[in-house]
Symmetry: C2
Subunit: 396 residues, 2 copies
């Protein structure tokens, strides 16, 4: 039984558990529009392997007879493969404004594939999946996960669809790193690359934040060293981690204009959490309450660590040498001025490094104020950039 | 018995408890150089009152016969009154480079007073202190604490020393806000004001971070709604809160230059906290382990909330009206470009607001890369600024 977890989670009115009560557990899984591809045989990872892992993916548009119009999309840490609505699943996807007829990635012209990351919990094999050798969930016996493994799992789907060359591979945040890993590891498989709010590696500042998020989960007694009942997640740790995530995904300027020092009618003000009752505190509660119960804690830990582990320099000794392995014809690198998790200078460095081997590199620095998450929100700035790439009319 | 807690805590080799073991509990209290002043009678707070609360303070230099050379210093959230070493207490203080003979605040010319904040745990009355009416520690029965209360407690010390007019009142971070509150509430009591890396109010971004730190502590089961044994603090929550604090006190640029992606020889890499073993993770561990056990959790909660509550606009309806109540002759406002907790534009706004009523306002924007904590580290930039103020040779 597959319940569309993300759709439920993104409905702001669907549930508002009080701060101390555990939310209803969701059953993780693929959405109703998802296909499941089971990789044949043993899937070798950087360390260890998985037997016939499943990869969930959704598609939009039609693959043309020459199989030349496919676009592969990798996600950030937490989304499912449901990037956009479709007849099978009318819930809005996480990049609803970008994918569809007459949208920047026009599905009348392109065949879009979005994969749920290996190690996630929306249909792809991950720590919540049953290990066929034991009949038990993998939990922490799941192998060390890297973005290279996620990229290779995506390549298996591409191969299974009979696609020999993608029009483009794209992703934002962790997905941008995964798209970069994909083009490094499979230099002939994609003609184009789009990296949004991403980087060749994580900086110590963002590593510190993610490491701290993981520690919040692992020090929650309910985590039980990864052996929590799947319907009794470490909600306290997940709530703290998600709140810190929200702080790092947005920007101080956006919050100043949205919240200022407004007080909320939050009934939790006197709940002994030493809260003041500011609107921003209620906002974080609402976001955390939507997240917990819709994402598995062990999956979060594996995926979060994979972002810290990624380093293009692992592919050739230096970042420059690693980037030289990228053999796409065109690349677009987009960054946002207010992003302090993947700061703009990292996208500038990525674009500069790609210029060595990529004939056409388009670098866009956008003045969005929504921070790292701008690609999900500031569509007025992101739509034209993405549309430029897919218009097949190279600039300049 | 008074054990010099801060001195122990700031000795990096003194203790390195493993990540999961509880550190030895420290007995909080004033240092050997601290004086204790007991405020006479009931001390009225914004909400509630305390009976004869104690305020710990240290002094350096000699009060001149006219009592005109006194400088009052308020601290950030966590330091004690031990701002500098002295014959009675040779341990380096938290502003050791700034206070002393021939130093920017030259103790051959000035009489420096540093108070431990009301509500703290280094000799001043706070949540760990015994409520004389019950014979039990106050814990959460301690009244709501505001920076105005801390400022007023400082004014009591000034009055007890027979000082009718201070040469200057100074502070950084929370201490800068407290100094501002002091000058607002006691417009005749100080001729000068120095606000460093401070603001007229907290922004929603920094409120979110502090609220999250408090939630980390309050959701630690060991907190027990504030009723933990004083030698068994909520170490997990305090460790998380301190680590997040360190992230917000420094800057990404500093960490990039210090740590990059260096791996450490940290034995805790495989401790199931999903750590990678980066140097920056070990650095946060070391800082957190020094902090926990040296600072009381309930005190932390009260002081942290007082920073979020402070707003100059509460003194007159608007920030501008509030600042007009400051009647000092000279003010210096210092901010740091890399500070994202109290960003530079907040100091610029503070300086601009002070110009309405203060004849001489000197605003310094320093290019330090150590973020909010620069005033403790980048002494080469801070010393000349502070020295300028105390040279009695007004600029321009």
């Amino acid at each position: 039984m597959a319940i569309f977890s993300r759709g439920r989670a993104s409905d702001p009115g669907a549930e508002s558990p009080s701060l101390h009560s555990a939310p209803k557990a969701h059953i993780h899984g693929a959405g109703p529009a998802a296909y499941i591809y089971n990789i044949k045989g043993d899937f070798e990872m950087l360390q260890g392997s998985l037997r016939e892992p499943a990869i969930a993916y959704e598609t939009w548009g039609v693959l043309d007879p020459g199989r030349t119009n496919a676009v592969l999309l990798f996600t950030g840490l937490s989304p499912s493969a449901h990037a956009a609505s479709s007849a099978k699943d009318p819930h809005p996807g996480w990049w609803e404004d970008m994918i569809g007829p007459d949208k920047p990635i026009d599905t009348r012209r392109y065949f879009v594939i979005c994969v749920n990351s290996l190690g996630s919990c929306f249909g792809s094999t991950g720590p919540t999946s049953t290990n066929p050798e034991t009949g038990q969930p993998y939990r922490l016996s799941f192998p060390l996960l890297t973005l290279e493994d996620i990229a290779n799992a995506g390549a298996e789907v591409v191969g299974a669809l009979g696609i020999e060359r993608l029009y483009a591979t794209a992703g934002a945040s962790m997905g941008g790193m995964t798209a970069l890993a994909f083009c490094l590891l499979h230099p002939k498989l994609s003609a184009g690359l789009i990296c949004i709010s991403s980087a060749t590696h994580s900086l110590p500042f963002s590593i510190a934040l993610r490491s701290l998020q993981r520690e919040m989960i692992c020090t929650d007694p309910a985590w039980k060293n990864g052996n929590y009942p799947l319907d009794k997640e470490p909600f306290t740790g997940m709530r703290l981690a998600r709140k810190l995530g929200m702080v790092t995904y947005r920007s101080a300027a956006e919050w100043e204009s949205r919240f200022g020092r407004e007080r909320s009618e939050d009934p939790n003000v006197d709940d002994c959490l030493f809260r003041v009752g500011f609107e921003v505190e209620s906002y974080l509660d609402a976001h955390a309450n939507k997240f917990i119960g819709s994402f598995d804690a062990n999956c979060y830990l594996y995926l979060s660590r994979s972002v810290d582990l990624f380093d293009v320099a692992n592919h050739g000794g230096t970042v420059e040498a690693g980037l030289r392995k990228v053999q796409v014809q065109r690349a677009m690198v987009i960054g946002v001025e207010s992003d302090f998790l993947f700061p703009l200078h990292q996208q500038a460095e990525l674009a500069e490094g790609l210029r060595i081997s990529v004939p056409e590199v388009d670098f866009r620095a956008l003045p969005s104020i929504q921070g790292h998450d701008s690609f999900l929100i500031d569509m007025d700035r992101f739509r034209p950039a993405i549309a430029d790439f897919f218009s097949e009319r190279p600039r300049g």
